[in-house]
Every structure is written in C-alpha cells, then in structure tokens.
C-alpha cells in the first residue's frame, strides 16, 4: 500500500480581517488623539461639576504647583504670521537687558510651559537635553520686589488682548499662592478666570 502523505503546507493564517480591524482602530485613535501638552510641573487638579471645556486657543495658562511655584504657558495666538511668544520674549529681553538670537527666539516659540527667572531663560533655551531642562524649572518670581509674572502677563495681554486666562492649580497648593496670582492678574485688568478642574458629577437633592 502506498503511504498516504499529508501535503505539507505552510501554516498561513489569513490575517486580513485582523489587519482591517487594526487599521480601523489606528485611524480612530489617530483622529481622536489630542496630545497632552508637556508641562513643567505635574499638577493634580481638583474636581468640580463644571462641564465647560477649557479653551485651547488664545489662552494664558498659569500653573501653580504643589510647592506653590508658578509656571506660565501661552500660545502663539490666532495669527500664524505673528508669533506672540517670540514678541513677548523680545519685550522681556528688553526689560531685563538680555539678547536672544533668532534661533533662540524660534526655539522658545515652539516650546510650552516654563517657570524661571528671566535671567535663566537663555540657559534654559540652550539646553540640549530635556533632562537638563527640568533643573531650570524653579518657578517664576512673583514677590512684590521682583514681580516677573506681572510683566509677562502685561506683555502677553498687549500682544494678544483676546487671551483668556486659565489657572491650573494643584489641589494641594495654598490658597494664598493662588490668590496672589489672581491679584496679579486683576492688576492687569483680568477679572475672569477659568479654573481648570476635572469633571466629577455630583447630585444634590432637596430634602423635604
């Protein structure tokens, strides 16, 4: 009797459906994703019932960290031809007698939040490694003797009068520190703030 030989076949599985699914998922995530902006400090925001979405454009974000350090972030504004960050940095440089090269200005306009005295800005911009960068994030001086935040806010508002202000404070930050930031903002005629929070539903019922 001749031996029956099973035909040798390469164990190929049809992966087409899986690939289809993957492609769909990938498209979904690519379209819905909005990257978390890199922040100078980890901020654990408190919860609230507010459902208003935080503005994403034309916004000055002031971060108040756990240790009451203040950091700042602002965007380049609606007009892509005028980079607001660049202009503001130029003004700050003028104020503190610093000079920035075109390259440094451009780098600054692409980065996000920062928090350091003005004289450290140059060194911060010129760091090559992102790990070295964190060393500089010591907070913007806000005391009355050297109120740099005040200047920043004023120059940003001059460049972009429509900018809204969002305060992103850590739940553990002191009220005093946040109040101080608010006072500085009010000195610059900003009376409306967005306090960034996480959504947490709460129900209230009236007891009869």
């Amino acid at each position: 009797m001749p031996k029956i030989k099973a035909p040798v076949r390469t164990p190929h599985i049809d992966m087409t459906p899986m690939v289809d699914l993957f492609a769909l998922l990938l498209t979904f995530f690519m379209l819905t994703t909005s990257f978390r902006p890199q922040e100078a400090v980890v901020v654990d925001t408190p919860n609230s019932v507010s459902e208003k979405v935080c503005p994403e454009k034309d916004v000055i974000t002031i971060l108040v960290g756990k240790e009451n350090k203040v950091f700042l972030n602002f965007d380049n504004g609606p007009d892509t031809a005028v980079l607001i960050r660049k202009e503001v940095l130029k003004k700050i440089a003028e104020q503190y007698g610093l000079t920035f090269s075109d390259k440094e200005l451009k780098t600054f306009s692409n980065w996000a939040s920062f928090g350091m005295p003005a004289d450290k800005l140059k060194a911060w911009i010129n760091t090559a490694d992102s790990k070295d960068r964190d060393v500089f994030q010591t907070g913007i001086p806000v005391d009355s003797t050297d109120n740099q935040l005040n200047l920043w806010v004023r120059f940003i508002r001059l460049q972009n009068p429509n900018a809204e202000v969002a305060i992103k404070g850590d739940g553990e930050a002191d009220f005093k520190a946040v109040k101080h930031v608010m006072d500085i903002l009010q000195d610059n005629q900003v009376n409306k703030f967005n306090l960034t929070t996480n959504l947490q539903k709460e129900e209230a019922k009236l007891e009869e």
Binding site: A23, L26, P46, S48, K52, P55, G171, E202
Partner: protein, 216 residues
C-alpha cells in the same frame, strides 16, 4: 521583508505554462507596526479633556464715586474656609460694634455645607431643577443657550435668595476654594463672591474674638 510565497504549478509534459503566483503576502511586519502604533496612540490619548470652572472676581478699583453694592444683612451668608479642610459659616454681618454672630462649624460633605445652602436657596434650586427635568424628559423643548438664559432669569428672580461671601484664610488650600465654589454650582446659588477675609473673622475662627457688649 515582505516575501511573496510562490506555489509553482507542476509542469506537465513539455508544455510551458506561466508560473502561478499565489496572492498571499506576509502581513506580519505590517501587523507588528500597526500594533505598536495603536499602543502608542492609546497611551498618549487624553480622553478626558480638562474642564474649566469660570469665576469672575469683583473689579479692583479705588474709585470713590462708585459705591459698593449694598447687601442686605439678612440675605448674607458668610462662609469661612480654613486649613485642614475646616469650614465655618455664619449669617448676617460681623461688626466689631455689634454682638458677634454665631459661627457654625461644618464640613464639605453632603450633610454639611450643602444642606445649609440648599435650605437657604430652596426656591431657586427647586425651580431650576424642575426646569432641567422638564427639558430632559422632553416636556419642554429648548436649546442649550435658551436653557442657560432661563436658568439665569430664574436665579435673578428670587429676591430672597442668599448672597454668599466666600472668605478663605492663609491656611486654606486651593482645593478648598474650588470645592466651595463648586458647591455653589451644585446648589445653583446665583450670588456669590470670593472676598478677602477680615481680621475679626480670623479671630472668630481662632476663637479669640471678643464680642462687643450688647447695646442697651
């Protein structure tokens, strides 16, 4: 990398036949890559967008011609926020020349400050909740902006609704402030403001405030 697996057709006789290529493509590398990309996007996606609580502070102006709005004492509720999640409230005004109002300690729980706020704000809260329910059930159809406007009108209509003054001292945490403002939103309180704490109120929290003798 992608290899095309060939299955050569057996050649019969001397006839030449065009080679048959199967259309199977090895998709493993592609799948690997897609897996990686999906994982990357899944991890970096921020699903819950940050929300914002809007707060408008009274304008700071030392203009003597503009008078501060008069507040009726019977409508006023003062909430004092202090450190260690402590919270107090008292009704009316604290005037050094008058006997001190009673300071009541409470907490952030459902039966704490919220109960008091709901009691004081009963009329507005009822009206707003009823309107919201009607909209949800579909008994009344209106756009979101109309709803917001109507709620605002309801809030304004009550002339007895409390006016809340939120005062926080140096020991308070930022979270406490957000919590108490949030409580205003939950209880649909229309009139509230964050104001500076007075020295007398600090003393009231410490328990060192001396009450003025009752007027004879």
């Amino acid at each position: 990398m992608a290899e095309i697996i060939q299955e050569e057709g057996k050649q019969k006789g001397g006839k030449k036949k065009a080679k048959k290529f199967s259309t199977h493509i090895d998709m493993t590398p592609m799948v690997d890559l897609m897996c990686l990309l999906i994982t990357f996007f899944m991890l970096t996606t921020a699903f819950s967008k940050p929300k914002a609580m809007e707060i408008t502070m009274p304008e700071k102006k030392d203009d003597p011609t503009v008078k501060a709005p008069e507040i009726q004492a019977y409508r006023t509720v003062n909430i004092l926020v202090s450190g260690d999640d402590k919270i107090y409230y008292y009704f009316g005004l604290a005037d050094p020349k008058l006997p001190l109002p009673q300071l009541i300690a409470t907490d952030y729980s459902k039966d704490g400050i919220r109960k008091m706020l709901l009691q004081r704000n009963k009329v507005v809260f009822k009206a707003v909740t009823e309107l919201r329910e009607k909209v949800i059930k579909g008994e009344e159809v209106m756009s979101d902006s109309t709803l917001t406007r109507k709620i605002k009108e309801l809030k304004k209509s009550d002339k007895l609704a409390p006016i809340i003054l939120i005062k926080a001292d140096e020991k308070a945490k930022y979270k406490n402030l957000v919590d108490i403002i949030d409580e205003m939103a939950i209880c649909t309180v229309a009139n509230y403001a964050v104001v500076d704490i007075a020295p007398l109120e600090k003393q009231m929290i410490d328990g060192t405030a001396v009450s003025a003798p009752a007027p004879k």
